[in-house]
């Protein structure tokens, strides 16, 4: 008796998809589309554009499923495809990273002074956000990012470091004011 789709490993599903299995590919989409859509938003894409690029990435993945041999995870593979598609789309719009205005958006925090990753990412400049998400979200190496977004390697490293520093600062909860509760009563 065939195993249910949800019990199959990504590599098995990819192999079945490469043979034309739509249901198996649908299962891969169900498993990985939230991560891909999230990554594209973290890279700075608006929701509609992010979903459009994510769909194109999955269509491309379906065509190239036979090329996925399971060396890495399917999630990492599809995220790299999506990231590269998004960069291509951006370069078509002739909006290169170097020309992007470095406006920082003030992120919102919860009552405990913490914020989630998506909120914290909003506090980064666009080149920082792009470099950090390509590095930590899509798994690209610094030289790969430099080649993909046409920036010098040193600049990419600086963007990643500055971006991580900002995230580090923003993701830590605000220090609680000392003695505010003990003096009550």
């Amino acid at each position: 008796m065939a195993k249910p789709l949800r019990d199959l490993h990504d590599v098995e599903l990819a192999a079945l998809s490469a043979a034309g299995g739509r249901r198996e590919f649908g299962e891969l989409v169900r498993r990985h589309s939230p991560a891909v859509r999230g990554l594209l938003r973290r890279m700075g894409a608006q929701a509609a554009l992010a979903d459009d690029v994510a769909q194109d990435a999955f269509l491309l993945a379906f065509e190239k499923c036979a090329e996925f041999r399971g060396e890495g995870t399917f999630g990492a593979w599809i995220k790299r495809i999506a990231a590269r598609l998004y960069l291509k789309r951006r370069s078509k719009d002739a909006r290169y990273v170097a020309e992007i205005e470095n406006d920082e958006v003030a992120p919102s925090v919860d009552s405990a002074g913490r914020m989630d990753l998506d909120e914290a990412m909003k506090g980064l400049t666009e080149p920082e956000r792009l470099c950090v998400s390509l590095c930590h979200g899509a798994g690209l190496s610094h030289p790969e990012i430099a080649a993909a977004i046409n920036l010098p390697l040193g600049t990419v490293k600086s963007h990643v470091k500055r971006g991580l520093d900002k995230l580090r600062a923003r993701l830590q909860p605000e220090p609680v004011a000392h003695g505010s509760a003990s003096h009550v009563g």
Binding site: G26, A66, L117
Partner: protein, 141 residues
């Protein structure tokens, strides 16, 4: 939280996929796109196959293979079978040369090769082309 602790932590945060309330709509839209592109591809392949087939048939009809005369001469004469094959090879070379002439490649002299060599080379190329076509088609479909 130290710097050393932070990077695995941020890796974990990036690895955690957000949840989207419209996931079902996203999947349905993707499935529709997949069906559309599949239909388009099937149609394009059929049309390309049809056009290619028509062109191939037309070219085959236009090339003067002249195999019949070589067969007659091979069987009627007192030549041995290898000589008949050799004649067929020469005719294949002539046919290929006429095809090259039609393609504007008159400078390519096929007669320089031996008859048998030419026969087997042509047969090999045809078999390789056929195999490549079958493999490509099976990958596409």
């Amino acid at each position: 939280m130290s710097v050393d602790e932070f990077d695995p932590a941020i890796e974990r945060l990036f690895a955690r996929a957000p949840s989207f309330p419209d996931s079902a709509q996203f999947e349905a839209a993707l499935a529709a796109k997949l069906n559309t592109s599949s239909r388009f591809r099937t149609m394009a392949l059929s049309v390309a196959g049809l056009v290619g087939g028509v062109i191939a048939v037309r070219e085959v009809l236009n090339v003067d293979f002249n195999f019949a005369s070589s067969a007659v001469s091979a069987s009627a004469g007192s030549q041995a079978a290898p000589q008949g094959l050799s004649m067929a090879g020469v005719d294949a070379a002539q046919a290929a040369q006429s095809l090259l002439d039609r393609l504007g490649l008159t400078g390519l002299d096929m007669s320089a090769m031996g008859g048998m060599q030419m026969f087997w080379a042509t047969a090999g190329v045809l078999v390789a082309l056929l195999a490549a076509g079958v493999v490509k088609l099976s990958q596409e479909i």
